[in-house]
């Protein structure tokens, strides 16, 4: 197993910059997720690590050795493709053993390694079948098995779950996490799905437009996003953003006047922001509350739509001065809401996020949980 270090990775396609200088350190045995919207460069970055694409500038180090010029097969990596790329004319066993055969590994050893990998993935009974006789989930396991057999230093996953249906996706996520724990391998995983990122990653790298927005553990990124992009990307339903201006501050509390007129308090350090300057308030749906009649304050809003999810309810409300609808996530038995009702939304100042005019997050004051 080995560490991976990327320094200053830059890449252009026909004059369009796709990666604008990526620095990344991945420790041995870590499960790192590269996540971001389409076109952010995450797949390109993965393929550069794999050696399927050349770097424009920068260095790729695997296990401490620079391998910009090294062929993919010699970098000690294995890749699981989004479409699995199983050779259709070969059996499962042949697919899994192909790389070893090319490397001249003796047949007995190939069989043994294939059998062992098949056992880990529980596909031993499929070894003699052809890919077209397998289900999507089975094919995916064969693709993973093909990677395991090669005993690589680093595993690369390119959106491996995107071709599976929802139920299978959840199940496979769990198995991937288990696999990582068993093999203790370094894994780099690319996805656009933030749920996969949050659940699988020990470290998440959020990419956007060719740059790294933030690197951190899931908790860090969720509770202390560095900017509006990361804040809005992780978490579903998305964090609510309410525009406003800084009305004043007092120690560790910032007063914000929202565009609709309401004034709220946020536990953030606004000392670096200009008084009266434009700021954006961010509150996650699960941290908003519909205030009871007896409670004061709150942001006035009109309910537009109520979605029942079974275990929870999402209330979509329109507030003055806020262009998009605000989503509030409540427990199902909090009350019966209906469209058109006027309510007031409130939140605990410790759960608010504040972003300056450039979208960067103002430091949050740690709260007792």
């Amino acid at each position: 197993m080995a560490s991976v270090r990327l320094t200053g990775i830059t890449k252009q396609y026909e004059g369009n910059p796709v990666l604008k200088g990526i620095d990344l350190d991945i420790a041995d045995g870590e499960f790192v997720v590269l996540v971001g919207p389409s076109g952010c460069g995450k797949s390109t970055l993965l393929r550069i690590v794999a050696g399927l694409e050349d770097v424009g500038a920068g260095t790729v180090e695997i296990g401490g050795a620079v391998c910009n010029e090294v062929e993919p097969a010699k970098r000690g990596i294995a890749m699981v493709f989004q479409s699995y790329a199983l050779y259709p004319h070969m059996t499962v066993a042949e697919n899994m053993g192909f790389a070893l055969k090319l490397a001249g590994v003796p047949r007995a050893e190939i069989e043994e390694r294939v059998a062992r990998a098949a056992e880990i993935l529980q596909i031993g009974h499929l070894l003699a079948r052809r890919p077209k006789a397998l289900s999507g989930g089975q094919r995916q396991r064969v693709a993973i098995g093909r990677a395991i057999v090669r005993k690589p230093e680093v595993f690369l996953f390119d959106e491996p779950l995107s071709n599976l249906d929802a139920a299978l996706r959840g199940q496979t996520r769990v198995e991937l996490a288990r696999l990582h724990a068993d093999l203790k391998a370094t894994m780099i995983y690319v996805t656009h799905d933030q749920v996969e990122a949050m659940t699988l990653g020990q470290k998440i790298v959020v990419l956007n437009g060719g740059i790294v927005e933030q690197v951190g553990t899931p908790i860090e990124l969720y509770e202390r996003p560095a900017n509006m992009f990361v804040a809005g990307f992780l978490g579903s339903p998305r964090m609510n953003f309410l525009p406003g201006a800084l009305a004043g501050e007092q120690d560790v509390v910032a007063h914000v006047r929202l565009s609709g007129g309401t004034q709220v308090d946020v536990a953030a350090d606004a000392s670096s922001a200009a008084p009266g300057g434009a700021v954006t308030l961010g509150v996650r749906p699960e941290h908003l509350r519909v205030l009871a009649d007896g409670e004061g304050g709150g942001i006035p809003a009109t309910i537009a739509l109520v979605e029942y999810l079974g275990d929870s309810v999402i209330v979509h409300a329109q507030a003055n001065g806020v262009p998009e609808m605000i989503a509030v996530k409540c427990r199902a038995d909090d009350g019966a809401w209906h469209a058109g009702a006027r309510v007031r939304l409130g939140f605990d100042p410790g759960h608010g996020h504040l972003f300056d005019a450039d979208g960067a997050a103002l430091p949050r004051v740690p709260q007792a949980r």
Partner: protein, 293 residues
């Protein structure tokens, strides 16, 4: 998605050479060099076996003023005129029938396409037999005694008819492919809108087939320019050279009169005509595509 691939890969050069070499050698030897040779020969006075003096563009000057050449070109275009439209129309009709009568389509398709896989001599032998003056079945049915291939008016049309029988299957195939590419949903939507029968053809089928028809027309035209076997075997270019086509004239010049230099000039002129037609086709196709877009 995955962006463009790199322009060159270092390790690819050697395998590329290995893989391309066999083809490249044969291509060079049996196409490229002969092509250059034809060009050069057309500027010389040569026999079949020896290249003689370099005479510049003299061959071409003679060519332009040669009534036999222009007659041959005219005969070729006449043949094209007789075959191109019938081949396209018949091909379309056959494709429509095959597509419609699905239960019999294997048989129908087979009946129409089988002649296409036969060697030319089979077609010419049968045609010759059927068109015999005294014992041929055509004359029997029509109650005539005509010697079709010796008849000034009918020789070329008969060659054309034989060719149509022989090659229409290919056009049918192209139209069939075009028909099968039309998504069924288009017809379903039109049916819901109340369209029937001929309207369906006019509004859905024909617009979708127009490009195929265009391609078929041009392929036919170019193929017509290139005929040789049919007229050589069936009429030997007669009567009185009225069915002598361009390539036949070239063959005679080269192999009968052993005037290879002049024959090469004919060949070059011939290629020029084919290229001109191909370019015209590309232009028309592009124009039509722009108009439809």
């Amino acid at each position: 998605m995955h962006a463009t691939r790199p322009r060159t890969r270092k390790g690819d050069a050697l395998p590329a050479v290995l893989l391309l070499a066999p083809f490249a050698i044969t291509f060079l030897l049996f196409f490229f060099l002969p092509a250059l040779d034809t060009f050069y020969m057309s500027l010389t006075e040569s026999s079949l076996t020896r290249t003689n003096a370099f005479i510049g563009l003299d061959n071409y000057v003679t060519l332009v003023q040669d009534p036999s050449f222009w007659a041959a070109v005219g005969n070729t275009f006449y043949f094209a005129l007789l075959t191109v439209v019938p081949l396209t129309v018949l091909g379309l009709v056959m494709a429509l029938l095959v597509n419609h009568f699905t239960r019999a389509s294997g048989w129908l398709q087979g009946a129409f396409f089988l002649p296409f896989v036969l060697p030319i001599s089979v077609m010419t032998l049968i045609a010759d037999w059927m068109l015999q003056p005294s014992s041929g079945v055509v004359n029997y049915v029509l109650g005539m005694q005509r010697a079709w291939f010796a008849d000034l008016t009918w020789a070329m049309p008969m060659v054309a008819i034989g060719t149509i029988w022989w090659t229409v299957g290919f056009n049918m195939l192209m139209f069939l492919a075009g028909l099968r590419n039309i998504p069924a949903e288009l017809y379903e939507a039109a049916a819901l809108d109340g369209a029937r029968g001929f309207t369906l053809f006019r509004t859905i089928t024909w617009p979708a087939l127009r490009p195929v028809a265009g391609m078929a027309l041009v392929l036919q035209l170019i193929a017509s320019m290139k005929i040789f076997g049919q007229t050589y075997i069936m009429t030997t270019g007669g009567p009185f050279n009225t069915t002598r086509v361009t390539l036949h004239y070239m063959y005679e010049t080269a192999f009968t009169q052993s005037d290879a230099g002049y024959a090469a000039a004919i060949a070059v002129a011939f290629v020029a005509i084919v290229i001109a037609l191909s370019l015209a086709q590309a232009g028309i196709v592009a124009w039509l595509a722009r108009r439809d877009a």
